[in-house]
């Protein structure tokens, strides 16, 4: 690794829902291949921060730089495109599009980001996640674990700079939580993405280098 430059940087971010509820977030810089855990109890603003980092929610003050790009300075259309290409999101429950098959969900992610679709490549990703045989299944035909794998696959399909997971394990038992965490670590490394996990799940703590306490 020649020069390690910051992948994600955010400074002086504040946000308020109403006048009386003001959040202010400490600044943070993350470099390529780093992982970060955002810890905090529910109501501490984890999801708010994640949404601000991923360009879904404009902060009240402060800047978010992704690979040097100030995402809130982009036009709305550019913002959408940037998000599709460079940011992968995983939710607590897999939110695959119900009317589309697993493979079509992957294709949708490529198409929405304006990237070319190579079926072989998509199948290879599903192979890596161990759900290649589920390519033509609809989300309701998958087990929770398979659906979570598919969702991680969809988040990584565009080789994003950062992979952001919001409470990916809190609904799972110990064994499955460990599997999903392993999967996130392994796949984000494999795809070269900076991993950010927001959680109140203490089981995850030991596996990740940086923690960011809210």
């Amino acid at each position: 690794m020649a020069i390690n430059h910051p992948q994600l940087e955010f400074k002086e971010i504040t946000f308020r829902y109403r006048k009386d509820r003001m959040f202010s977030f400490p600044s943070l810089t993350l470099y390529e291949h780093e992982q970060c855990l955002i810890l905090g109890d529910s109501g501490s603003g984890k999801t708010t921060l994640l949404h601000i980092l991923t360009g879904l929610l404009r902060p009240f003050t402060g800047t978010v730089l992704l690979n040097g790009v100030d995402i809130y300075r982009l036009s709305p259309k550019k913002q959408d495109q940037f998000r599709g290409k460079h940011i992968g999101l995983v939710f607590q429950q897999s939110h695959l599009i119900k009317s589309l098959t697993v493979l079509e969900n992957m294709k949708l992610a490529r198409w929405l980001a304006g990237l070319p679709i190579d079926k072989g490549e998509l199948l290879a990703v599903l192979q890596r996640l161990g759900i290649a045989d589920k390519a033509t299944c609809y989300p309701y035909q998958l087990s929770q674990g398979q659906a979570q794998r598919a969702a991680i696959g969809r988040a990584l399909i565009n080789k994003p700079m950062i992979l952001v997971a919001d409470e990916p394990t809190s609904a799972l038992d110990d064994r499955h939580a460990a599997i999903v965490l392993e999967l996130l670590l392994e796949q984000s490394k494999g795809f070269g993405a900076t991993l950010i996990i927001a959680t109140h799940d203490k089981r995850i703590k030991d596996r990740i280098s940086h923690t960011y306490q809210l």
């Binding site: 999801t47 708010t48 949404h51 991923t54 879904l56 929610l57 709305p76 259309k77 959408d80 495109q81 998000r83 599709g84 290409k85 940011i87 999101l89 939710f91 939110h95 599009i97 119900k98 009317s99 589309l100 079509e104 294709k107 949708l108 992610a109 490529r110 198409w111 929405l112 980001a113 304006g114 679709i117 969809r154």
Partner: protein, 412 residues
Amino acid sequence: MNILLVAHKNITRNSLSSFLGALLSALGTAIFCLVLLLSSQLSKQLDANSKHIDLVVGAKGSPLQLILNSIYHVDYPTGNIPLEEAQKLTKSPLVKLAVPLSMGDNYQGFRIIGTDSSFLKLYGAAIASGKWWSKDFEVVIGFQVAQKKHLKIGDKIIGAHGLSNSNDLHADHPYTITGILEENNSVADQLVLTGLSSVWHMHEHEEHHHHEHKSGHNEPDEDHEVHSLIELTDHGKEITSMLIQYKNPTAIAMFPRMVNQTTEMQAASPAIESARLFSMLGIGLDTLMYLAYTLMLIAAISVFISLYHAFKSRKYELAVMRTMGASRHILFGIMVTEGIYITVVGSLTGVFLAHLATYFISRFGSNEMVSPWRFSGKEGWILPIGLALGFLAALIPAIKAYMTPISKTLSR
């Protein structure tokens, strides 16, 4: 992957409510299209058949009936008129062309018309193969008659009594086909033409036949009424009616009045009578049109409701799509495409249903005036109407989708 595919997938997932929307717009469009087809084809047929005919002279009675019978060959004659009287009219300087018609028989539902060669001139018809008759009991048949009954020159056909299919055959006097007309796109295609004297001879003979018959039995004769349509009286020969083409427009004002006032016959104008006929039919057609509009409106409302429900249950998915890089415009586009998809599929099905209905009308209603394969120019409007309905129905859900706040929806 494109908007249409995503819309298609969403619609097939909600297949039941989408189906209802498509069904309603199909029904609305089908009625709309059927009314268009029937009214345009009827008026076209009415015009084509009466194009060169300025006046019909026949026995007193309903003028509409006289027109229907002598021009469109659908109703029964009003009675007979003496040939001599009718011929007097043709000597008028106002008359360019006069075609005598004599009817009373049919060949398997196709009317056999006694006339002369001026008939061809009036209809602008020509013989495609064979020649005009030269003897009694020779006929020239219309294009459709030859097509539908697979007839060719030299074939013998047997007429039957009355104006519609019956079993009372003239088996002892077959007609020989000497010619087949070119397709004329008028009622001439559906007729069997023969000389006036053939018709007279047929019934002259019939009269005798019947008298013999009657002396033997005493049963009442059901067909007697039809027989008497063409009767040889002591005064001379009779015909059913006479089609007249004027020499110049001044005749319009004078000639009908002259006929109605100075003779025992009546004159009826095809233009006036078909306008009257159409205004009578028009009320029914208008009512059907309103029904079609109502159904289309209900279709739009049903599509709106189903899309609105779909939007509500898919709000989260829409927000997820935004996180995947979908712009607001794409979500708007998907919603609108879904609405248009349903109504356009419905409209196209409706057009198909309307043509299917005209097929059944022409096939089983033995109505030769409508053809399922003819398209009305106004049908071109159906696609834009379908598009507009779908767009309007989808507009509110699409705006809602456009406005979906990502963060708020996801954290709910």
